[in-house]
Every structure is written in structure tokens, then in C-alpha cells.
Symmetry: C5
Subunit: 153 residues, 5 copies
């Protein structure tokens, strides 16, 4: 199995290094990494990781800014990542941390690491242990902040 | 006939299990289930159910959160599901329950179950009894809350 | 010539039946009808009418609700219908009547019928009499409510 | 060379006739014209002009209304026109005049004519004199209202 | 290696000339330039640079205006550029400078030049020195205004 990791120079946290660290803890998979300037460069970078580097899954890591224009960039990047998945029939786990989700730089760094690590585990489950995800269906999982949990009747 | 069921670990209700329970009540169809982390992972999961698992129709089940960012996620997922249908010429019944559609967790659980069950019936009609849908054309059907009914002149 | 008619069970007016009635008044064309649950199911239904049922043009009939979420659904459906047309090189006449365009159910029923009938005529012109449309270019045609007419200098 | 002209019956100005008049002043090109009901019908009309009528470039002419719903229609049409260009590797010059850009019908008629004529010249340059456009790079050209001009340092 | 440069006559700064000047400082690459009227014409122009002119990467340079309609144009252009990258598996570096990012024409000219030059360096790194980008991962790089830098814990 081969996992692609794509991240950005725009991000204020080295999310790619964190993802690779976590992936290695859970499985002995080959890892291919690329870094691009910003989140709108991620879709084609992921496509190349899938088609040219033969990755079975890719993690797309980015940190959109907090302004209205940044939200639109993130929207465009997300649409591109979904289209890329449909064109390649391959999962891309989008891990975006919006700067305005946190109150200060320290929490931003913490959230980026936590969300990246939890989604690295999801990536491994998707390619190696898909039945474990079925067991978690409907349990209100969240990545980074605490889980919402199942709705009580 | 083979029906795909794709749901998420993000959802706070096990919509996949409900869908399968309802599908089995109405037809003896083969069922393939996958669970992914969130709604933006659904489009490619559905594509694989159609192309690799040879499903004739898929139910895509998800529960978007109540914030503005969540609404945008749901929008991106919906666009991806429509594109997936066009690429595969196969129906995907989107069953999304927005957390802010209900007042509390109990109503959320009820709505999720009700909407999922009613759309499971729609899925069966689409592949096995399409003429029954023509009879219901223009009758203001709703899934979950009560029907709007036909407009009175 | 073969005309496809796709409508929904969500609509509160039987727009499909109205379209078929009007189409038959203007030309002896074969008609294929399908009904789907909602407007987001229309794009792939139209694709199948074009590719499997060999329709030369399709009318896509729907009635989006009046809430913000409904407007977004209509936007997604419209994008899908345009993409479907590009993939098949075939016209799809979108006939959407938004519940909030009218003041009461009676006007809603009237507008749905009127707009459907006028667009049925447009569909016939597109496949059989395209030069008639050139004569109407820039004349401010509207479907349902009264025409805007040409701008006076 | 062959130029396609696609316009609408919804428009309140005969933009197609104006485009053809201006194109003929600048080059002896073959011209193919189609008229469709509204701007959302333009993308597939342009695709057919390119693929079936072998046009080397197309002008897509439309006049979106001034309401919020109309703006969304224009957005969907624009997305479709861009996708059509990518699918055919052929330029489509979008000439949209929004009703709310002007104060009265007379100005609307003037703006529609002026913008259409200036973009007809752009279309000719794109297919016959691309180097003339390079000379104008960064000069703040506008079509219709007066040019913005280059930014002064 | 061959670098494409696509810019617009709408822009108020000759961004294409600036890009070419900077590219030549960093590598001896072949350069192909085209100029189109506006940013919505960029996606297909980039596609032709990639497919017909065999460019290995393209810089897409534009200056959206400051009104709401202009923001929507930029959004559509960005979506088209991402789709073009996915269709060609080739990077396109989008360099957009929004008129409302700056306070006056002089700052607009400065920002356009600075952002274009910094992204020209990114383009060279992407095709010739991709490992240098990995070193910059998560360091909060910005193009034009000063860098945000890494988040402090």
C-alpha cells in the first residue's frame, strides 16, 4: 500500500510531517510527499500522486485563512478534491484547519496536529480496515475537537 | 438487483443500519455497505459501490452539522453526488439530515430514521417499480416531515 | 423525434402531465416520461432519457421549496442539468417554479401550468423550428408571467 | 474561419444581430447563429456550434435579470460556458449585460450594443490577431463603460 | 522545460511582462505567452498552452475588480482553472490580485508586481526544485504581503 501526503507552504503548521509521523505508527505503508504553495494547488497535486506515484489514498492537508476570500478558496479547493476523487476512483482525505476555528496560534497548532493525526488513522482504516469504520457508523466522530457522540433518543 | 448503502462516522445516527433494515422489508436485493468519515467522502465511495461492487442504485446517507461551514460541506458533497451520478448514469439517493432542522437530539434521531426509511422505499421504486413514482408525480411528497400535498387551485 | 419528460413527486403540481398535454398539441412526437423523488434526482434521470431512451430533447420539471436550503438544492440541480447537457450535447429545458415566486397555492398552480406550457413550446421550437427562435431573439420573452418586451431606446 | 453567435429570446436587446453586424465589419468570416430561450441554454448551444457547426470561436450573448435568482442563473450559465470551453478547447466570449447595471431601458440598450460590439472585436483578435491582445495586456480594458486604464504608480 | 504565461487586457498592470522577467532570472526555460480579454477566458487559454504549446506549467495572471459581480467572476475563473489542471494533470499557478486588496493604484501596482514575482519563483520550484517546497511546508508563506510565518505554540 502507498499513501500520498500533499500539503502547503501557506499553512502555518507542518501538517505533512505530522501526517507521516502518525501514518508510520499504524502501518508499514510506502509514503509519497509533495508540497505546493496553497490549497488550490492541492487537487492536481493529489491527482499526480494517484496516477503517477500510484498512491492508493491521499491526505490533502491545508490551512485556509480566516477572511471571506479564504473561505471561497477553501470551497474551490474542496470542489476540486471531490472532482479529483471521482476522476481517479480514489479516496482523498481532506484535512483543512481554518484559522478562524481557534482563538490563538497555540490552539491553531494543537488543532492542526490533532485533526491531522486522527484523519491519518481514518486513511489507514479506509485502505486496510474498512470494516472498523462500519462499526463507528453514526457515532458522531469528530477530528480535532471532542466527538459529538450518538444522538440520544 | 444490488443496492449500495454509504454512510458516515460523523453522523450521530446509524443511518446505514436503518436503510438496510428498511430495504430488506421491501425487496430481496443484495446490499453492499461502506462507511466513510464524512459527507465529502461519500461521492467517491458511491462511485466505487457502483463501478466495483456493481450496485444498481446507491443511498448516500449523511448528517451535516449546523454551522455555516457545515452547510458549505453539504453543498460540495451534493455537487459531487450529482456529478457521480452523471459519470455512472446511476441514481444515488441523497439522504441528508441537517442538525439544525430539529430542536433536540431526540427529534434528530426520529427525523433521521424517518427520512432514511422513506427514501429507502424511493430507492426500491426507482429500480423496481418506476411507474409507481409517476402516479405520485406532483403530489408534494416529503421525506421525514409530513407531506406538503398537491397545491389547491 | 422523441421528447423526454422528467418530473418529481416533491412538486405540488403534476407538471409532467401538463408538459405532455402541451407537447401533443404542437407536434406528433414520441414522449418518454420518468418521475423521480426530487429535483436533485433530475440530472441523471435526464441523462438516461437521452442515452438509453434516445430522446432528442428533455424537459426537466421541478418545484423548489421556499427556504434557503431549497434554493441551494435548486442551484445544485441546475448545475447538474447544465453538465448533463454538455456531456450529451443535447438540450434540457429546465422548468423550475419556486414556491416563493407566488403568493398562494392557487397562483402556484397557475404559474406552474403556464410556465410548463410555454416551455413545452420552446422545446418543440428547439428541435423542429429553430429559426422561429431567431425571430424572437432579444424580444424579452418570459415563461409564466408576462413578457418584459424589448428595451425602448 | 467560422464564428458562432448564440443569443436568447429572454434578452431585451437583439444582441445576436449586433454581434453579426460588428463581426462583418472586421473580417470576412463565416457566421453561424442560434437563439435559445435563456442563458442557461447557452452552454450546450455553444457546444453544438463548436462540434457540429465547426465554429472556431463562439460569442455567447445574454441579459440576466436584476433579481437574486437571476444572478444565480448567470453564475450557473457562466460555469457551464467555462466547462464547455475546457471540453472543446475552444474560446467562448461571454457577453452578459445585467439589467441592474443600468438606470433605464435606454442605457440598457446602449450598454448591450456597446459591449457586444467591443467583444466582437475581441473575438476577431483572439482567432486572427492574438498578438494585438498581448500589446493591450494590463491596460485596464473594459467593454461597454469606459476603460479603467493602467494603474499609476 | 516550457512555461506558459496567460494574462488579461482587463488587468491594470502588465502582469505577464513581470512574470516573464522574473522567470528568466531563475531558469533558462522556454516561455509561451497569450493574452485574453478577462479572467474567465483564462481556463481555456491555459488548456491550449498545455496541450497545444506543450507547456509543463502555466501562470494564470488576473486582476478581478472590487464589486460583488467581480468576485463571482473570479470564483468561476478559479473553478475553471482547477478543472483545467485536473483535465491536463498539469499545475496552473493562479495569481489573482483583487482591486479591493489595496488602498490606491500605486499599492495595486506594487502588490501585482510582488505577488507575480513570488509566484514565478513558486512555478520554477514546482517544475525544477520540488524538494525546496517541502522544506517550506507549514512555514506560513504569503505572496505579496509579508509572510504569516509558522504558528507559535
Amino acid at each position: 500500500m502507498r499513501v500520498g501526503v500533499a500539503d502547503t507552504t501557506f499553512s502555518r503548521v507542518d501538517m505533512g510531517a505530522i501526517a507521516i509521523d502518525e501514518l508510520r505508527k499504524h502501518a508499514s505503508v510506502a509514503i509519497e510527499r509533495v508540497t505546493v504553495p496553497g490549497i488550490k494547488d492541492l487537487p492536481v497535486a493529489c491527482k499526480n500522486l494517484i496516477e503517477q506515484q500510484k498512491c492508493d489514498i491521499v491526505m490533502a492537508l491545508g490551512m485556509p485563512g480566516g477572511k471571506e476570500k479564504d473561505r471561497l478558496c477553501a470551497h474551490e479547493a474542496s470542489q476540486g478534491l471531490i472532482m479529483c476523487q471521482l476522476m481517479t476512483s480514489t479516496h482523498i482525505i481532506e484535512v483543512f484547519v481554518h484559522e478562524d476555528e481557534t482563538n490563538d496560534e497555540s490552539e491553531l497548532a494543537w488543532l492542526s496536529e490533532q485533526r491531522t493525526r486522527e484523519h491519518a488513522v481514518n486513511a489507514i482504516k479506509l485502505i486496510l480496515h474498512p470494516k472498523e469504520l462500519i462499526k463507528e457508523a453514526g457515532t458522531g466522530q469528530r477530528q480535532g475537537f471532542s466527538d459529538a457522540g450518538p444522538a440520544r433518543r
